[in-house]
């Protein structure tokens, strides 16, 4: 891993350089909260944010995606839609959100040769270079350390920036990252041992600032015995089924497909869906295998902490804390897992 430093005043220059060659995405503040958007002017970027309200999964797994278009007439033609071919750089992504992509990869890209690869996800994913930004001040509901991660983890990004006061400490992790800044090397300088020490201190301070922790040891096995536990009913009683947790989650990836058409043409589109809605599992016959909110709340937890680890050996949770922050009835995933650990079976 190569280490460099970049002084803060050179950041706009770097971003402008990148924006001239790539489609640059970064956090922009609008109406009091930040979200990832396409950036034309590097001044727009807001790096004071901690977590965007909507996770950046939306950049790669778009909320609305056209799968194909079709026309009506004597000859029916099915066309693949035009895709955005531009190479992308996602700047300022937090390590936990970057980890979200790594969790989504086996879902959309398959695990082994011959598995189905979702072309829309794969194309965007492969064309994106991630520039991460470490969190110096974690939020109240951050608990990424509970998943062997850290607020300054470089595991899932191509390049990682860490704020060390006057400068950014830059970890170059992958070949892709190296390629990106090859032409920009005049802006960077070599990192000194001192810089590295500061970076490590910043990381340690951030880790220490995380106040909430989730103990996931043995949860997978415990959940196997808890399918009929009354914890689910108790939690689900207060759930209103609003689905905010799934819409904001960086790892939730359920979707619905629908056809939209006008007189002579139309398209099949894919939109985000949520397992917290009763319609989600509704069969055409009228039977619903998850008829009660209890089933749906339980499924959300089981998917993240039982099914997913069994299939892909990773918890489908990054510890970003969005679902805890925005749940209107205080359904707290840390609290639920703690209760799972305590529960008698």
């Amino acid at each position: 891993m190569e280490n460099l430093v970049l002084s803060k005043e050179k950041l706009p220059e770097m971003l402008t350089e990148i924006a001239s060659k790539y489609a640059l995405f970064g956090p922009i503040e609008e109406n009091g909260f930040t979200s990832f958007k396409h950036i034309n002017n590097s001044q727009e970027i807001n790096l004071d944010y901690l977590l965007t309200r909507i996770s950046p999964k939306s950049l790669i797994f778009q909320q609305t995606e056209t799968l194909f278009t079709f026309n009506k007439g004597k000859e029916v033609k099915v066309n693949t839609p035009k895709t955005d071919e531009a190479k992308r750089v996602i700047f300022g992504i937090r390590p936990c959100d970057a980890r979200g992509y790594s969790i989504l990869d086996p879902v959309f890209e398959g695990k082994k040769e011959g598995d189905y690869k979702d072309p829309f996800y794969t194309k965007k994913r492969n064309r994106s270079t991630l520039i991460g930004l470490s969190c110096n001040k974690p939020d109240l509901n951050c608990f990424c350390t509970s998943f062997d991660d850290s607020p300054a983890s470089a595991k899932n990004v191509d390049i990682l920036f860490t704020d060390i006061g006057e400068k950014y400490f830059v970890d170059i992790v992958t070949e892709k990252g190296k390629e990106l800044i090859e032409n920009l090397s005049k802006l960077f300088s070599k990192a000194s041992e001192e810089n590295r020490e500061v970076r490590e201190k910043v990381e340690q301070d951030a880790i220490n600032a995380i106040t909430r922790h989730m103990n996931t040891e043995g949860v997978v096995k415990k959940l196997d015995k808890m399918f009929n536990h009354d914890l689910w009913q108790k939690t689900a009683m207060r759930c209103v089924g609003c689905g905010i947790c799934t819409f904001l989650c960086p790892t939730c990836h359920c979707f619905d497909m629908q056809d939209e058409a006008i007189l002579k043409e139309g398209a099949r589109i894919r939109v985000w869906d949520s397992c917290m809605y009763p319609e989600y599992t509704m069969h055409a016959s009228g039977h619903n295998p998850r008829p009660a909110r209890m089933n749906r709340v339980r499924n959300r937890i089981y998917h993240k902490f039982s099914y997913f680890p069994k299939n892909d050996k990773i918890f489908a949770c990054t510890g970003c804390g969005r679902c805890i922050d925005y749940c209107p009835v205080n359904i707290d995933i840390i609290d639920i897992i703690a209760k799972v650990k305590e529960a008698k079976t």
Partner: protein, 141 residues
């Protein structure tokens, strides 16, 4: 440049307004051809979402026609429609959709002349404000 010819969807009740429009035709009264009429059994049957949906799908304006108060074939449908559309109209106005785009009128089966005049006025007004773009579906995939 060609003059803008608006698309206006007219929801007319079967018993009065539609018959009024019919009379305008049989009496050979000239009126702008911009109104595309959809016959409904009663103005009270018009779901206010029809208005929004029409504007989404290509209409530049919507005209709703019912019987005069007291004349409704179902005795109260037009009164109910009056309330519903009054609220919807104000809501659309508040969101920023020009009030001229949603109009309501009472036309009886004997008022062919009035129907033609209303259509003329509505078409004139919508021509002035131009095409509806704000909430139109783009249908680009």
């Amino acid at each position: 440049m060609e003059e803008f010819e608006p698309n206006i969807i007219g929801f007319l009740c079967n018993w009065c307004s539609y018959a009024g429009a019919d009379l305008a035709g049989t009496s050979r009264i000239q009126y702008p051809p911009n109104v595309k009429i959809i016959k409904v059994m009663c103005s009270g049957r018009i779901n206010p979402m029809y208005v929004v949906n029409a504007l989404q799908q290509g209409a530049d304006g919507v005209l709703i026609g019912g019987c005069h108060p007291g004349d409704c074939h179902y005795s109260r449908g037009n009164y109910l429609a009056r309330r519903r559309i009054a609220v919807m109209k104000r809501l659309l106005e508040y969101i920023g959709i020009e009030p001229e785009r949603v109009r309501m009128t009472w036309v009886s089966a004997a008022e062919g002349r009035k129907f033609a005049e209303v259509v003329e006025e509505v078409t004139e007004d919508i021509k002035k404000i131009g095409p509806m773009k704000k909430i139109r579906r783009e249908n680009v995939w």
